[in-house]
Symmetry: C2
Subunit: 337 residues, 2 copies
DNA sequence: TTGTATGCGTTATCAA
DNA sequence: TTGATAACGCATACAA
């Protein structure tokens, strides 16, 4: 049985109030008594019960973190940023992986609140609107990752996907490419539709006509990236792209596969630019030119935004956008004419 | 302010005891009263404070999970197995990433215990012996991942690395290779030394002499895998390997790089087998033949082992070994003679 | 079948 | 500078 504050009090011949004072570094304790208490703490190997403390202080110093799938390559780094930053604030992180299941998302929220977390950082698969709205109405501290829900005002950390899609496309244009294909997760996925918008903006600015045959959509998996690319390679030669912008590195990796299967070379025959700068970008061959999204920093900013809400009494309704940066590696080159 | 059991009692005109009975599905409540209480719960949107419940029941239904680096590709899947299995047992998971820092490991344990977790699953970078021993002496439920500490008896979930190293090597031997190189994390890392042992066992069984020039060591990173491979390719032609077994997929991916830089082809010029079957194995080209370690299942087994300790009064000192399986893809082929 | 009273480990109020 | 006592939200022994 672990020692309690009462055991320390008895052992040091003082009241539990005094022990509590020592534990919380209060000034109004005589040095001699403080000493007595501290040795008792050492002798009994006492460690305070933070849960009981939380009960009276009405805060747990725990935050929740809910993701749809931690094996999605964007999340581990984000998670790291979150737990480390949280630790620096004195918060622990309770973690849920919902496997994209909406009912699990609901359950996770319910459980986290039952466990009295002080706030929740979450990335919901589809904007699970009702849940978020309910939390917002209660002024429960919450931070949404990535998704800027258009008509809601949940505090969010997000990317400027339009700008990053523009950057990737503009880079390919600067290399002389005009037939630039785009593999996208489609209009239904917010990040996908935004990156597509950036792609279109860049084309428009360069006065390159938008060719809808060059835009193929599928879910964010390598397999789907491969299929999309196969689709593009099946176009008649004169319509075929000389470059590709894939809206996720994972899809770019799948596209590599299709390109190799067609006995084409990267970047000699086709240039590829990805998005996200996941670990795999440096592992596939040739190393993938892609857009870094600074996920670790994004996680840190998420914690900042959450803690701000926890400490503030007035509602915080802010969207924090994180910057992105094109990382030039080996998968794109100037168009040979 | 969230409603409490007392609010429900008042609202339903019953005692808090009765409310508690309803909450815990006790049979000794008249249906009519149960109804009254339940509607009160609905009306006030009440959700029980599990932390307070934990204080009296002396358990939190939370387990801790400590990893050195969640971005290491083996961990996300393991984490998934753990949180999902834990959820099925009614446990939440408090997560720490120590960034390989020993002092953070210590702090994480201290914090988790202060937060009254019922048990901890951890993977310590080096066997942080003292900490583990202390926990074991207190009969605090704990499960160690991967590392079988030789002289301690901390419950562990591990891999049979000798068998898996043997499997990988035997496969290359069966393809006719005799000059099989091995990229290893070295004798200092337990998994590395065990896989090396399996490699040697397979060679010995096939009566292929062990050539220490063919074994190169480095840390588990792609960069180090590349350097190791460069080292091997620098051998005089007659001593050069026709096949490679890398003890981690990440190092195999690095080796790919060195092989491509040397203008050699995989598997035509050199066959490669990795270990771990991480996501990247299917993304690099050609797809990597490797050994699957069933990380999700391993996480589940870890939770089983931990919950067994939590529920049992007698100490559990068991090492659970998980099986491994060779996954044949495209990176190895029969030796051309 | 229901309610009263006590305690889980801690902090805060107030008095000494 | 110290201590007695009442909370925090809940479960439970015991009484009614």
């Amino acid at each position: 049985m672990a020692a309690t504050i009462r055991d320390i009090a008895r052992h040091a011949q003082v009241s539990i109030t005094t022990v509590s004072r020592v534990l919380n570094d209060r000034p109004d304790v005589k040095d001699a008594t403080r000493e007595k208490v501290n040795t008792a703490i050492k002798e009994l190997g006492y460690s305070p019960n933070i849960v009981a403390r939380g009960l009276v202080l009405q805060r747990s110093n725990v935050i929740g973190f809910i993701v749809p799938d931690i094996t999605n390559p964007s999340f581990p780094e984000l998670a790291r940023g979150i737990v480390n930053k949280a630790r620096s604030y004195g918060y622990s992180v309770m973690f849920y992986d919902t496997n994209h299941d909406r009912s699990v998302e609901k359950e996770a929220i319910r459980l986290l609140r039952s466990k009295q977390v002080d706030g929740i950082i979450l990335s919901f698969n589809e904007a699970n609107k009702e849940e978020l709205e309910r939390l917002r109405l209660e002024h429960f501290p919450i931070v949404q990752i990535y998704r800027k829900s258009s008509n809601s005002v949940v505090p969010t950390i997000a990317l400027d996907n339009i700008a990053s899609g523009y950057k990737a496309t503009a880079y390919l244009l600067s290399l002389g490419h005009t037939r630039i294909a785009h593999i996208s997760t489609g209009e239904d996925v917010q990040s996908g539709s935004e990156r597509l918008q950036g792609y279109r903006d860049a084309l428009a600015e360069a006065k390159v006509p938008y060719d809808e045959q060059l835009v193929v959509c599928g879910p964010n998996t390598a397999e789907s990236g491969k299929q999309c690319m196969q689709h593009l390679l099946a176009l008649p030669p004169e319509r075929r792209p000389s470059a590709l912008f894939a809206c996720h590195d994972l899809m770019a990796a799948g596209a590599y596969d299709a390109i190799y299967d067609a006995n084409l070379r990267i970047p000699d025959d086709i240039s590829v630019v990805g998005h996200d700068n996941n670990q795999i970008a440096e592992l596939i061959h040739p190393k993938l030119t892609t857009v870094d999204t600074f996920k670790y920093a994004l996680g840190e900013k998420g914690v900042d935004l959450l803690v701000e809400q926890i400490l503030s009494d007035k509602p915080v309704n802010r969207i924090v956008e994180s910057s992105t940066e094109l990382i030039i590696r080996e998968s794109a080159q100037a168009l040979m004419t």
